[in-house]
């Protein structure tokens, strides 16, 4: 018996026309598709064996933030597994508010890139365990950085992006992951702009580069098309958790089915 690999459904929370929380799921961070009520969805996933949840506020607006905190509280009152909440967190006060609403961890992306000291401030005040640094990485095949990975026979590096992958920062994603760890991040949440929404599998070169560089747990995200992709990211990259959205939302695969597939192949999972 040992620590299990985690399967995490990700729920993107938006505000519908009536001001209620609504769940959408995206393809390449755009073209959002509606899938339902976040609290109901969380309950269903919990019963299906989800190991924790990630909720992302994709509106990044004041209205979205308020809706998100209400949603987090409603979910925390019903579902007794860990909740990570992200989207628009930029200050120590944002972190505190989100934890008070019932989140166990906050996922910080742009807020930490803009002001890296936020990581240490959050870790000191609330503990490293609740500070998750989220990275939206994309492959760069040009000479803006130092090559250390290979995709389809071509050398590349990975760059941190902001604004859902639309804007590059020039910062190397793996170096940033290492820095975030040193500053006190308790977990890293790695998204791939290239793999997102493709269902062609996780970006293994990216996940491997990050997992090899850090010793804090890594949640692999973007590109999961089925149980075999989760198997691949656990065995090839040594990720600690596999996050997926659309394959679970649309019932293509159940969480239980995914875990059984992994269990049969010797990956420790909670069944």
């Amino acid at each position: 018996m040992t620590l299990t690999k985690r399967i995490i459904p990700c729920i993107d929370v938006d505000v519908d026309d009536d001001g209620n929380a609504a769940v959408y799921t995206g393809v390449n961070f755009e073209d959002l598709e509606y899938t339902g009520d976040p609290v109901e969805m969380a309950k269903r996933y919990n019963e299906a064996g989800a190991d924790e949840f990630v909720f992302l506020d994709i509106t990044a607006s004041a209205e979205g933030r308020e809706t998100m905190l209400e949603t987090v509280s409603s979910v925390a009152d019903e579902v007794f597994i860990p909740l990570t909440v992200g989207g628009g967190i930029r200050t120590r006060e944002d972190i505190k508010e989100t934890l008070r609403a019932g989140a166990d961890k906050v996922s910080i992306n742009t807020g930490a890139l803009e002001r890296p000291a936020l990581i240490g401030e959050g870790a000191e005040a609330f503990g490293s365990q609740c500070i998750v640094i989220s990275v939206d990485a994309r492959r760069r095949f040009d000479e803006g950085g130092e090559y250390y990975a290979e995709v389809d026979g071509e050398s590349c590096w990975f760059e941190c992006t902001v604004k859902g992958g639309r804007e590059g920062t020039g910062t190397d994603a793996v170096e940033w992951a290492e820095e975030a760890e040193q500053r006190g991040a308790g977990e890293l949440f790695i998204n791939s702009i290239d793999a997102d929404g493709t269902k062609d599998g996780y970006d293994i070169p990216l996940m491997k580069a990050v997992c090899d560089a850090v010793s804090t747990p890594v949640i692999a995200s973007s590109g999961c098309g089925g149980p075999e992709d989760a198997y691949e990211v656990f065995t090839e990259a040594n990720a600690d958790a596999a996050l997926a959205a659309s394959i679970f939302h649309f019932g293509e695969y159940s969480i239980e089915e995914t875990k059984r597939y992994l269990d049969e192949r010797g990956i420790p999972v909670r069944l």
Binding site: M1, L3, S73, A76, L99, P217, R270
Partner: protein, 231 residues
Amino acid sequence: MRGQRQTVAEVAVVDYGLGNLRSVTRGLERAGAAVDVTDDPDTIVDADGIVLPGVGAFSEGMDNAGPFRELLVEQAEAGTPLFGICLGMQMLLTSSEEADHEGEGEVEGLDLIPGTNVRFPDSVKVPQMGWNTLSVQRTHPLVSGPGAADPDGTADSDRSVDGEYAYFVHSYYARPDDPDAVVATTEYGPEFASIVANEAGNVFGTQFHPEKSGETGLQILRNFVDFCADR
């Protein structure tokens, strides 16, 4: 999942700082407790049971819990059930390597369960974050006893959590001086004490978060609330 139970005991959750107290409160309520999240000494003294929650660093936790030290020790000695969760459990021990690690010298724990908290070796990813298995070593009201579905009926199988998964987030673990203080163990690199209790049985703690451990965690909270009600 079972719904809300009838209220059977009053539980005080000691509010000495920051973080998510909502989940532990709701979990205890679901388990049949009337919960006060409080820093008021009288409320703590009047409660049937006390929960010492905690996340973050040992020395900061002890700093924040400092004003409650005497009160908690008195209540523990009077026999009131005192349940430490995560850092709250580590604080029940005498000391922690963490304080030294941070260069802050010796920081005294509550010393209700003699022992120290030590860091995981570098051979494993630190923190341990996620679901791991409980191996129950002996009987205690919090977990019933060893044996998930004991055919001889020596363990109350409805209440047992032996072999179940719980949710952990921690870099340090408890090493009690007395091996009998270990109620359950978990393996992560070394096999470590995931549930500890004092000799009298009324002071105990879980390294994992029962309020985040799904149905297994709720069972532990129900066992705790029943234990408080029985006194």
